[in-house]
């Protein structure tokens, strides 16, 4: 889609959305809204922290408290495990332990403090490609990257080396990805990395590159989600 066409379409959108009300938002220079690649057919941007809806935290805490009180996860696992043979149960416990170890570095509390999220999606052939960027403070992004990389390594080990874990520098960001066998005809490459406090997950290195380029070099015409915001 050329820029002239984009301008026309977003002018139309701007007029159409003039009547919609929106609360004041703070726009940072390196706004994740800039990172939505123009080839995406869907993009979502959200702020994680809005004091106006802090009351939801009270309700959400009550749900988590009830989950913890019920011990439902532990009880479900116990039931499943109690009906397995000794061999299967041992394997089950080994997998459970591997997953727990892989995710041990993740600072879950920090994930809840994520301040900004951008998600974009596009189709390439029969594959739906995804790009997720989350701004997480205080090493939270790195902890999540480490956890996901550990999961990649578990998958690689389980595949007996058929899915090697590789790293590629894309726009100054080391993206660690599972390398699929060349006979897989689809574009699907789960990859993870960080750029400062921004956690990046994607299923396509090219799609991630498009987003990372936009963060460093915001387009002359405002990025996809900025344009949506400017309509108000």
């Amino acid at each position: 889609m050329n820029q002239c066409c984009l301008r026309r379409r977003f002018t139309v959108l701007a007029l159409g959305l003039g009547g919609l009300c929106l609360h004041a938002l703070t726009v940072d220079a390196a706004d994740l809204r800039d990172a939505a690649p123009p080839e995406a057919y869907m993009a979502i941007w959200a702020t994680g922290q809005n004091p106006e809806r802090d009351y939801l935290k009270v309700h959400e805490q009550a749900v988590w408290d009830e989950i913890a009180k019920s011990k439902i996860i532990e009880k479900s696992l116990q039931i499943v495990q109690s009906h397995m043979s000794d061999g299967d149960a041992a394997q089950f416990l080994a997998i459970k332990s591997s997953l727990q170890n892989a995710l041990a570095p993740v600072q879950w509390d920090q994930l809840a403090n994520a301040s900004e999220v951008m998600y974009a999606q596009k189709m390439e052939g029969p594959t739906s490609l995804h790009l997720l960027m989350v701004r997480i403070p205080d090493d939270g992004a790195e902890s999540l990257r480490q956890g996901i990389e550990n999961l990649f390594r578990l998958a690689s080990d389980a595949s007996q080396g058929k899915l090697p874990v590789t790293t590629k520098n894309v726009e100054g960001v080391d993206l660690t990805y599972l390398q699929l066998p060349p006979e897989v005809p689809m574009t699907f490459q789960p990859a993870v990395g960080i750029k400062g406090d921004i956690f990046v997950f994607t299923t396509s290195l090219d799609f991630a590159q498009a987003g990372l380029e936009l963060i460093d070099n915001p387009p002359q015409i405002p990025g996809l989600m900025i344009r949506v915001w400017l309509m108000h």
Binding site: I44, A46, S82, M123
Partner: protein
């Protein structure tokens, strides 16, 4: 939260699927026929231009505003023709009685353009299906019921469903419901229904069930479906036609309530306090509108799961006593898992802070555009410092659960 959906971009990217199939099929003729059909199907679905969505918080309301547009040539596509010629609701308020606990009015879509397209496009591309379609046509002639003329032309897609307070059962409150389908040929459909019932009565097993229809006293043009199984389940479904709608109700009283509101003889929900809580200003016709009593539904589900969690292990235990081998082992797992249902029910019950949601879609200011507004009411939490209020809330929640 902002979101942007670009329908044109999606459709352009979906065209890569047939290209991908062509590439990996190495010129296989069968693949070429499939990709031809797929390409045409994607073309015929290319009706959406874009939708922009903004979600924001306003006190204890989560509000969403959306603006969307169909493409300029949407009317030339099958999907566009399915969506664009629907009747909107000029007076949505009249469909919803004052004591409604949930409703959904929708201009829906008509399947007729898709049926016509499929019946033309598929045999043209796959001549081998012609004999099957001829047999399908012969069967329709044999039973004198035709999918296109009798069903798809008669039901144009608009529908309205209304839920009203129903009886209390051991698993919680049950809602009575009324479903209305816009029908352009009520007399013909009524005749088809009578033929269907008569045909069912020819089947001995069905006849044993005492299937019959009776006219409803005081409700002109309505029939009540009778059957032994329905009586045992305490269901008295009624069916009838009025003002261009086919109306199905779980009970005569529910249909009467909707008709009374529609005729202006009874108060309507939109005049009550519940509607005003949403702060939605709705002028002019609506394409769709719905109200979901989320908190009430969550509490009902929570209660039902807790009840089921108490009863299921006992029932399964009795069945298990009469079962042997692998079946008994499988039942043992189900019995143990069903013991978790009360906990699941209590967790679900904690989500009842989502009080209610209302969504309305109306024609937008531009040609082929629409505006959708949605409001979710959130229950205010008790102030932590106010121990009395917190205790009251905890007591209320416990009672509700």
């Amino acid at each position: 939260m902002h979101s942007f959906f670009d329908g044109k971009q999606l459709m352009s990217q979906l065209h890569e699927i047939p290209q991908f199939i062509t590439r990996v099929s190495n010129g296989e003729p069968e693949a070429a026929r499939i990709t031809g059909l797929l390409t045409e199907l994607i073309n015929q679905c290319s009706a959406f231009d874009y939708e922009v969505n903004v979600r924001y918080t306003d006190g204890f309301q989560q509000r969403t505003a959306a603006y969307g547009k169909l493409s300029e040539n949407a009317g030339e596509t099958v999907l566009g023709r399915m969506l664009m010629n629907q009747q909107s609701y000029e007076n949505w308020k009249s469909f919803v009685p004052a004591d409604t606990v949930g409703f959904s009015l929708n201009s829906g879509c008509t399947l007729l353009p898709f049926y016509d397209w499929a019946m033309q496009e598929i045999p043209a591309r796959f001549p081998e299906v012609k004999s099957g379609l001829e047999e399908f046509a012969a069967r329709q002639d044999q039973f004198d019921i035709h999918v296109r003329e009798d069903i798809l032309q008669s039901f144009t897609g608009e529908f309205a469903s209304v839920s009203l307070p129903g009886p209390v059962t051991p698993f919680g409150k049950r809602a009575d419901s009324v479903l209305m389908l816009r029908c352009t040929e009520p007399e013909h459909i009524e005749e088809l229904l009578h033929r269907g019932i008569n045909a069912l009565q020819e089947i001995p097993q069905v006849k044993q069930q005492g299937v019959a229809v009776e006219e409803v006293a005081g409700l002109d043009g309505f029939l009540q479906l009778k059957a032994n199984a329905l009586s045992m389940a305490q269901l008295d479904p009624v069916l009838g036609f009025k003002d261009g709608w086919m109306i199905l109700g779980s009970k005569v009283s529910a249909v009467e309530a909707v008709l009374a509101a529609k005729s202006g003889e009874a108060p309507v929900w939109a005049d009550g306090d519940r509607f005003s809580e949403f702060g939605l200003s709705i002028d002019g016709p609506v394409c769709s509108i719905s109200f979901t009593n989320t908190g009430e539904n969550i509490r009902a589900m929570s209660q039902a799961m807790q009840q089921l969690g108490i009863m299921a292990p006992m029932i399964l235990g009795m069945i298990q006593g009469q079962t042997q081998g692998e079946g008994a082992e499988a039942l043992q797992v189900v019995q143990e898992l069903s013991g978790l249902l009360p906990s699941v029910g209590r967790i679900i019950g904690k989500l009842d802070f989502y009080d209610a949601t209302m969504t309305v879609t109306q024609p937008g200011p531009e040609t082929n555009s629409y505006v959708r507004n949605s409001v979710t009411l959130i229950r205010a939490p008790a102030a932590p410092a106010d121990s009395d209020a917190a205790a009251t809330e905890a007591k209320d929640t416990a009672e509700k659960n």
